[in-house]
C-alpha cells in the first residue's frame, strides 16, 4: 500500500453521468487521475471522451441542456458544488483544444492575455512570463523576433504550441488536451508529443486522442471509453499488452473504431 500513497490523485470521479438533453453521454464513470502523469483517454468517436474531458474544467456547461450526476473531486473538493469558483478552476486547469484557437491579437498579447486579466501589469514581469511560457512550449526561438506579429500568421503547429504557451502563462496545475494534434502534420505532432513528455515533470496532463500509437508514446495511464462507459483504466504498458476486457482488446487491435 505504501507505494500507492506516493502517487497523489489530482482528480477522481464517482458515478459520473451526463446527459445532453435526453441523450446520455457518460454512464457511471469512476476514474482516478494522478499527479504529474500523462493520462490518455482513448475510444472511438462519440464514446464520450471529449465530454469527459470537458467536465473536468466545467467547460461542458457551455453546452445547452446538460444534466450531470455524480461527483468529481479536484484536489479533494467537489467541482460541481454550487459555490465552487469556476473561473479559479479554469485558471488552475488549462485547456488546449482540437483546433488551435489563438486570439486575433499579436503573439505577445495572446500569451499576456491571461496574466493581465489576473492583474499583472508590471511590464518586466509580463515580459518574463511571455518568454518563459514560449520557451516551455518550445516556440521562443521561432518567434522571439516577431512577438508583435499577428498570431494567426503562424503555421498550424506553431499556433497549437502558442495555445499551449498561453495556457502555461497562467501557471496551471493540470493541462487538458482535446486531440491536440489531430489537425497537425507528423513533424508538428512529434514536437507537441515531445513537449507533453517534458511538461509532465511539472504538470498533470490529460490528453484525449484517437491515435493509439500516440497514447502508447506519451502516456503513463490510459483510460478506454466506449459508449459513454469507462471500460478500463490502467498503466498504459499493461493496458496495451494485456487488456482485461474483450472490447479493449478489439479496439486496440483495430477491429473497430
Amino acid at each position: 500500500m505504501q507505494t500507492l500513497v506516493d502517487v497523489k490523485e489530482v482528480y477522481s470521479t464517482e458515478g459520473l453521468s451526463l446527459w445532453y438533453d435526453k441523450k446520455q453521454a457518460l454512464k457511471d464513470v469512476n476514474v482516478s487521475i494522478f499527479e504529474k502523469q500523462v493520462t490518455a483517454i482513448i475510444g472511438p468517436s462519440g464514446c464520450g471522451k471529449s465530454t469527459f474531458l470537458k467536465t473536468l474544467n466545467r467547460m461542458v456547461e457551455l453546452e445547452p441542456k446538460i444534466t450531470i450526476k455524480g461527483r468529481i473531486s479536484y484536489r479533494g473538493n467537489n467541482l460541481y458544488d454550487k459555490h465552487y469558483p469556476v473561473e479559479q478552476l479554469r485558471h488552475r486547469v488549462g485547456m488546449v483544444f482540437q483546433k488551435a484557437n489563438p486570439f486575433p491579437k499579436s503573439i505577445y498579447n495572446n500569451i499576456a492575455f491571461g496574466p493581465r486579466l489576473r492583474g499583472i501589469k508590471n511590464k518586466q514581469l509580463l515580459n518574463e512570463i511571455v518568454e518563459r511560457s514560449l520557451k516551455q512550449a518550445a516556440l521562443w526561438d521561432e518567434v522571439r523576433d516577431k512577438l508583435n506579429q499577428d498570431a494567426n500568421r503562424l503555421s498550424g503547429g506553431q499556433q497549437q504550441r502558442l495555445c499551449l504557451a498561453r495556457c502555461l502563462a497562467v501557471d496551471p496545475d493540470v493541462i487538458l488536451m482535446d486531440e491536440p494534434t489531430s489537425a497537425l502534420d507528423p513533424i508538428a505532432t512529434a514536437k507537441v508529443e515531445e513537449l507533453v513528455h517534458q511538461l509532465k515533470q511539472q504538470y498533470s496532463i490529460i490528453i484525449v486522442t484517437h491515435n493509439m500509437e500516440q497514447a502508447k508514446r506519451v502516456s503513463d495511464q490510459t483510460a478506454f471509453f466506449l459508449n459513454g462507459e469507462l471500460i478500463e483504466q490502467r498503466k498504459t504498458s499493461e493496458l496495451f499488452a494485456k487488456p482485461f476486457h474483450k472490447e479493449t482488446a478489439d479496439y486496440i487491435s483495430g477491429r473497430f473504431g
Binding site: 445547452p64 473561473e87 479554469r90 485547456m95 486575433p104 499579436s106 492575455f113 508583435n148 494567426n152 498561453r166
Partner: protein, 295 residues
Amino acid sequence: MKSQITNRMATVLISVCAGLMALIMIALVGYIFYQGLGHVTWHFLTTVASTFQVGGGIKDQLWNSFYLLIVTMIFTTPLGIAGGIYLSEYAKPNRVTGFIRSCVEVLASLPSIVVGLFGMLVFVNTFHWGYSILSGAVALTIFNLPVIVRVTEDALRSVPVALKEASFGLGVGQWYTIKNVLLPAAFPGILTGIILSAGRVFGESAALLFTAGLTSPDLDFKNWSPFAFDSPLNPLRSAETLSVHIYSVNTVAIVKDAPQVAAASAAVLALFVLIFNLSARGLGAWIQKRMSGKS
C-alpha cells in the same frame, strides 16, 4: 438538354434582376445629382435659408442634421450595443428572450410617422420638451435602437466560438471575455452597422416633422453656450433638418427659387448618405485588415 436551357434562362433572369436594381439606383442618384449639384455652391452651404428672398442656403439645416445625428448616436450606441450583448451573450433561449426579440423586431418595423406622432404626444406635449433637438433625438433613438441591437447581436454571434472557449478555458470571466475578446473581434461589424444606420438617421424626415419641428431660430454661430435660445448647441430649441427642409420647401415655400433649393438640398442629402455608406464599407474593411495585421 432541357436542364441546360432552364439553367440558362435562370441565369439570364437573375442577372437581369440584379442589373435592374443597379440601374434604378444609378438612375435615381444620377437624376438627383444632375438636378441638384449645379446649384450646390459654397455660398449655398454657408448661407441661412430665406423664406421670401431668392438665394437662400442650408447652413442651419446642415448643422441641425449633423447635431441631431450626433445626439441620437450618443443615445443609441451604448443602449443598442448593451442590448445586442444581452441578446447574444446573456439571454437564455426561453420565452422572455423570445418576447424581447419580438419587441426589437416590432420596434424596427414601426412606420416612422407613427414614431413621430408618438414622439409629439409624449416628448413634445407630455414631457414639455417642445419641438426640440431632444424630442427629435429621442424619437430617432426609438427608431434606430433596434437596428443597432440587431447589428451588435449578429456581429457578436459571428465571432468564432473557439475564441470564446479559449478565453473561458483560461479562467477568464464572462464580462472580461466579452470586453477583451468578443467585442474587439466584432468591432468592425458593429462599426459598419452603426455608420449605415447613421445614414438612415441622417435622411429621416417623417419622425422629425412633429418632434424636432419645421423651423429653427436664427442660429448664432458665435454663441456656443448650450443654454442660449439661439445657440447651435441648445438641445431644447427646435431644429429643422435637411430632409425636413426639403419637405417644407417643396410644400410651403413661396420663394421663387424653391425648386432649385429643394433639388440642391436633396443632392447634398443624397451625397452625405452615399458618403456614409461608402465609408462604412471602406472603414470596416480597413479596420479588419489593421486589427489582424499588427496588434
